[in-house]
Symmetry: C2
Subunit: 218 residues, 2 copies
């Protein structure tokens, strides 16, 4: 039997993406370090399975943000930090593509981020990684290369708000359901992807030295 969590790309309902959760990334965008987590929603229609092609709309500067995704197994609301990890079914590697030039505009105008983050193909996503394969989600390496050159290279230990705090915060506002994905923010090194670029990303467990997920797109 395949669970909704294991098939979250097809059957999940929401993507909740945390902003500004790595200090080095906050600095590179000249943003303030947040006092509490904040998030935005991406539509599940933006998923792009590994091996696909990203579509960059005309006039859009499309930035990559490689991120660890948490796949919710057991739903809930007002989840405590102590309980939080038991609500996770597994993980995925994702890229939170962002129309950076449009985002600069909407931020100035106080408008929502939904279009900027929500174009079709703007959430490249790996296959599902069951939690049993992960030693410690707060110690995973993730990197992104463009045409063979490393652009982002981080570790989830560098999050400003740790995973339990993220789940507590999101579930204090909206009920989490099986198959929901939480994106946990991106380390530094973000930048533009151009048509024809070849993108490779990986998620690895430094404890077991195993590669947990690979994500490629063009």
């Amino acid at each position: 039997m395949t669970s909704i969590a294991a098939t979250f790309v097809r059957n999940g309902k929401k993507i909740v993406a945390i902003g500004r959760n790595y200090a080095d990334h906050v600095k590179e965008l000249n943003n303030a370090v947040p006092k509490e987590p904040f998030f935005f929603l991406k539509p599940t229609s933006s998923y792009l399975p590994s091996g696909g092609n990203i579509e960059i709309p005309r006039g859009i500067v499309a930035h990559h943000e490689v991120e660890l995704g948490l796949v919710i197994g057991r739903g809930g609301r007002d989840i405590s930090q102590a309980d939080s990890l038991s609500h996770i079914a597994g993980y995925a590697l994702a890229v939170d593509m962002t129309a950076r030039n449009l985002q600069d505009e909407v931020k100035k105008k106080g408008l929502p981020w939904s279009a900027v983050k929500g174009f079709d193909t703007f959430t490249p996503i790996s296959t599902f990684v069951p939690k049993s394969e992960v030693t410690d989600p707060q110690n995973l390496d993730l990197w992104l290369k463009i045409n063979g050159v490393v652009k982002q290279d981080g570790n989830t230990s560098k999050m400003i708000f740790a995973i339990p705090r993220l789940i507590e915060h999101v579930s204090s506002i909206m009920t989490l359901e099986e198959g929901d994905l939480i994106l946990t923010g991106t380390p530094s090194g973000i930048g533009a992807i151009n048509p024809g670029d070849r993108i490779e990303c990986a998620l690895a467990d430094p404890t077991t030295k195993r590669e947990l997920a690979k994500l490629e797109f063009g």
Copy 2:
């Protein structure tokens, strides 16, 4: 057989909500009339079926915005205005609840609207109205009363961007799927709901003089 569209509250994946689509509402919030439609996402976890109780988090000023909802039947992307109505399976009456004081803050800071619009119970929703019951979606009356006093009383003919333009715009950015809901904006008269208030809303067809949907919550 019950379709995903008819059961959109349980089975739909996204809610796309249009902002500032009635001139009288744009004026009451001192906003600029938009040159093209804009939207934000609400999570489907925020649906509150008629008869339920709204939860207003401590410290939140929760404003009502009564709106016509379009329930997508046939999905698609880059839908033309000419084809747009054929993608609608039916309608619903909704209230786009908004944490207005938080929204004022995030707008100033250029932050996303997702939390402000996305609390559990922040999308009270009527039952599904099949399109066959509606003479013309661009000529429907909708009103909202608090404790018996009319607060909002509008007609969908007053939209700045008509329904075909909304579907064209949203589907140019993100694929629409069966069961998705598009909220089409609110007429003037928005204001705060207080704990204990009794809210009644209705959607009516002035051509047939029939009430199409009723929505009540406390």
